[in-house]
């Protein structure tokens, strides 16, 4: 009898094995993204509609005064560009959570969860993979925005990268946490209504907070507590080579909280994921 089983006596994993796993998950996420061209197109069309139509229409209505990080009066298109970048990441994070629910329904998620590597690490890799995909979309948007004459300082394209990674991680972790509580794919419409739209509209993505405060002090406080507001501001400042320390702290803290929550939720002994077998199984 020829036994071709591997040496399983050792414990733990080498750094190389961890890196191989990360590469594999990112590679698979990128492949899936490339196979779903319509996803890429729709991810770009959404912010471009806001940029080309909404912003153009409201340019004369919503004047923007000089507020940090801007040093001059700016056009409304310039103001909402960072908000739209964060919006791409928000939708991508929720798309990832939709994809996790789908994978769980279809069974693909099991392939990931029965890997011997630590589950927290697998989820972190999944999160990084989703963030990497969102970066591709954001930079494609920035390229089109540049053609539309929205031109941040050249160094901004580089300095915004860490901010995009952090905000992408935060929104991806939020999506992952939400996916753990969604039992069926059909329930995902609720996420659109109760998470994405409120987060986007109750933020500084479309209008500066001082204008919100003039209109509704209550909404102003809601916006202040909205982590998406801080993701937008982190990206906005970074795009102009500056750091908004409050937003950095909030986004960093929320990333940690959402990630810990997602790891907890996907832990088989404690978590929130469905504890009944999939349809037809017993």
């Amino acid at each position: 009898m020829s036994v071709t089983t591997a040496d399983h006596s050792r414990r733990g994993f080498s750094l190389g094995e961890y890196i191989t796993c990360l590469n594999g998950i990112v590679w698979r996420e990128a492949l899936r993204f490339l196979h779903q061209r319509e996803r890429f197109v729709s991810a770009l069309v959404r912010p471009l509609v806001w940029l080309f139509i909404f912003a153009a229409g409201f340019r004369q209505v919503l004047g923007i005064s000089i507020i940090p990080p801007y040093e001059t009066y700016i056009l409304y298109e310039v103001y909402i560009a960072p908000g739209l970048m964060a919006m791409i990441q928000l939708f991508n994070g929720m798309q990832s959570s939709l994809s996790m629910v789908y994978d769980r329904e279809m069974g693909n998620m099991r392939t990931l969860l029965v890997s011997p590597l630590p589950r927290w690490y697998l989820l972190a890799c999944k999160l990084l993979a989703g963030t990497a995909v969102s970066l591709l979309q954001v930079y494609a948007f920035l390229l089109i925005a540049w053609l539309w004459d929205i031109t941040p300082p050249p160094i901004g394209y580089l300095t915004v990268l860490p901010a995009l990674i952090l905000s992408g991680l935060m929104l991806g972790a939020l999506g992952m946490l939400i996916s753990s509580g969604i039992k069926q794919l059909e329930n995902f419409a609720g996420v659109m209504n109760f998470v994405i739209f409120p987060m986007f509209f109750a933020s500084s993505a479309l209008y500066p907070l001082w204008r919100v405060q003039e209109g509704s002090p209550m909404l102003y406080y809601v916006c202040q507590f909205n982590p998406f507001t801080h993701a937008v501001e982190l990206v906005r400042f970074a795009l102009y080579g500056q750091i908004n320390w409050v937003s950095l702290a909030v986004v960093g803290g929320c990333t940690a909280v959402f990630m810990i929550g997602a790891i907890y939720a996907y832990d088989p002994s404690r978590g929130l994921i469905r504890r009944t077998p999939a349809g037809g199984e017993t």
Partner: protein, 274 residues
Amino acid sequence: MTAIDATTASLAQPDMPSSGHDPAAVPALSIDGVSHSYGPRHALIDIDFNVAPASFTALLGLNGAGKSTLFSLITRLFGIQAGRISIFGHDIGRAPSEALRLLGVVFQPRTLDLDLSVKQNLLYHAALHGIARREAGLRSQEVLTRIGLADRAGSKVRDLSGGQMRRLEIARALLHRPRLLLLDEATVGLDVKARADILTHVRQLVTEQGIGVLWATHLFDEIIPTDDLVVLHQGKVLAHGEVARVVADAGAQDVNAAFARLTAAVADTRSAAP
């Protein structure tokens, strides 16, 4: 003749000798006092049995018996509520990495990524086990040749037949060279030929590679007299042992009749209960 047929034609005869494992060895799988409930409904009640290395154990039960729940516990998809599960001595709850490293699994629902190619699915699985790309490529080629899908390496999985997908899932489960293989209703929905191919292939893994196999099924004709058998019914183990002994103990002529007698006894007990 398929590649599987060619390599296994001389194996897995119905009268082949017992797998002859050493009973003193550490069990490939040890299930000790495991119970599981979904709210008030008891899915598994005090389950106890072992799977020896290099043995084929059939887990026989009707739909709803608790087979898939047991598989979810062994693979750590569900947390263990009561009892203990070990794979080659590694407790799945306390040392999941060590335990899962030794385990290959084929779930009842298809878990392949349909949009990726055959080879991409294998490479992804290899990455999840930390197998470097070069080594993963070599192993993928090896297993695809073995299951007769080498010429389909670049094909999208959705273009494969049901039988080919199952063979691919088995090949994938073996890519990291596990010592225990779980298959949950792996032949459901396949035609007779595909079923026979897969069953023969899995039995070959036991005899040639010394892999312990737990084969969940509700089909009596997939079981041969020298297999180990666990009869699971309504969340309880009704019998466990070599098929011939289980059949004899039940005073029956074959597995089918033995199963009918064992489950009827449960029904009688319930109806007699006050």
